[in-house]
């Protein structure tokens, strides 16, 4: 038995310990590379007052959108939202709080959070509503705002393959925010399409080293497509 074995056997076990009011960092861009079964598990658990840090909030019946149905989300920290009617409705009714964050700043907030960096300076958002109330500093004649990093009580991540030790590989653009999310959770839960034995993955090709991963589970995925576009030829 190895102390490095991260595999859990059920989604209940994967999300055990999630409580009302917690902050969850989620990987994914649109519906691509989202931890869809972990989200479904949170819906089943009925956990409420959650803050989600995620680039988007899914659509009405898929992705994080499903958590809006029973009002499980208190706040979203995202760069682009509103692809779903329920979201708009709850936002306008004041039932849902949204902190719009530039996409690069959001990725960097997660990255910095996972790397133990409490804040950073960026030119992004200076002179805009995003910069209001934030510390401004000048470096080499240019103005930057201070942005604080983010960590979560949980991080939920979708990978492609992982070995039992939690070394994860992502597939194509389903990578997106997942590697940063994986570093920024107190408890990081990764679901993948295939779990293999240690040694089967090429160490130089690992995207997320196992040190960041607390729990690992293999699932089956719908992988819904948001904008199906094809060429004719």
């Amino acid at each position: 038995m190895s102390g490095f074995d991260k595999v859990v056997n059920s989604y209940e076990e994967a999300m055990a310990g999630l409580e009302d009011g917690m902050t969850v960092i989620a990987g994914g861009f649109g519906l691509c590379g989202i931890p869809e079964n972990l989200i479904a598990q949170i819906k089943t658990m009925g956990t409420k007052e959650l803050t989600f840090v995620s680039n988007n909030c899914g659509v009405d019946d898929f992705g994080l959108g499903v958590l809006l149905v029973d009002r499980q989300i208190k706040k979203m920290i995202s760069s682009y939202v509103g692809e779903n009617a329920l979201f708009e409705q709850q936002l306008l009714a004041g039932e849902l709080e949204v902190e719009l964050t530039p996409q690069g700043t959001l990725a960097e907030k997660m990255r910095a959070g996972g790397a133990g960096i409490p804040a950073f300076y960026t030119a992004t958002g200076y002179g805009t509503p995003v910069g209001e109330g934030k510390e401004v500093r000048e470096f080499d004649g240019r103005k930057y705002i201070m942005e604080e990093s983010i960590t979560g009580d949980f991080a939920i991540v979708k990978g492609w393959k992982a070995d039992r030790y939690g070394n994860v590989v992502y597939r194509d653009t389903a990578q997106n925010f997942n590697p940063m999310a994986a570093t920024a959770g107190k408890i990081t839960v990764v679901e993948v399409e295939e779990i293999v034995e240690p040694g089967e993955l090429d160490p130089t090709q690992i995207h997320t080293p196992g040190i960041y991963v607390d729990r690992l589970i293999q699932g089956t995925f719908e992988k819904r497509i948001e904008q199906r576009t094809v060429r004719k030829d």
Binding site: F29, G30, L31, C32, G33, N55, S78, S79, Y80, V81, G82, E83, E88, L91, L92, L100, P102, Q103, G104, T105, L106, A107, E108, M110, R111, T122, A123, T124, G125, Y126, G127, T128, P129, V130, W160, R171, D172, T173, A174, Q175, N176, F177, N178, P179, M180, H207, K223, R224, I225, E226, Q227, R228, T229, V230, R231, D233
Partner: protein, 218 residues
């Protein structure tokens, strides 16, 4: 005649150079990819983590794990690379992208841009736009010169909340190509058959009109 969307894309494409890494926004900017000159190689950056965006897939090639920043299914071009969002924005914020093309609601003579938020309307978010305008050195904004009601979008001061401050130097409208320098627009080219007078009339911000304003040709 005002430029068509396709002509605007064609005009922007003349700014491309062989070996450029380019980020194209949604709308007219996306069309620029159709007019890359023959024999020139450019690589399209998609901010969700793809450098070297290829064409849309065929029915057989469709893959849910392969999308662009507009969430459309795409393919990877030969020589593409795929990476995380943090890596993607490191490229953007670190000034490594050679040309960024994006749309806007308003641009002003100080190079400020407003493109993401209209107070009173539902705000969906800025996505990567604030990172793109703050990080890129070479940005072309594409938009109509005036609103449907004839109100200028080239202003003294933007009226809408900003996407970025003092970061825009080049604007292509349906009527003209302009540059911004030292707090003023400079008229560089006009659309075929569009008079300097019309452009002056539809530009609310400070505008310098050189003696010669060449007409674009297509």
């Amino acid at each position: 005649m005002a430029l068509s969307r396709e002509q605007m894309a064609m005009r922007v494409a003349r700014e491309l150079q062989d070996g450029f890494y380019v980020n194209l926004g949604i709308g007219i900017p996306t069309l620029v990819a159709n007019y890359v000159p023959e024999g020139m190689d450019v690589m399209l950056q998609s901010e969700n983590g793809l450098l070297g965006m290829g064409p849309f897939p065929t029915e057989d090639e469709i893959d849910a794990d392969m999308i662009n920043a507009g969430k459309q299914t795409v393919t990877a071009a030969t020589g593409a690379s795929i990476f995380s969002s943090a890596e993607s924005f490191a490229m953007i914020r670190g000034g490594h992208v050679d040309l960024t093309v994006l749309g806007a609601f308003e641009v002003d003579q100080e190079g400020n841009i407003a493109s993401w938020m209209i107070p009173g309307k539902l705000i969906k978010g800025m996505g990567g736009a604030m990172d793109l305008v703050a990080g890129a050195d070479n940005i072309i904004v594409t938009m109509t010169h005036a609103s449907k009601h004839g109100e200028s979008k080239l202003l003294e001061t933007c009226s809408l909340p900003l996407t970025g401050a003092g970061c825009i130097k080049k604007v292509l409208t349906d009527l003209a190509y302009l540059e911004i320098e030292n707090g003023t627009f400079i008229l560089k080219e006009r659309a075929p058959g569009v008079s300097v007078e019309e452009i002056v009339e539809k530009t609310a911000g400070k505008l310098i009109v050189p003696d010669e304003v060449p007409e674009m040709t297509f």
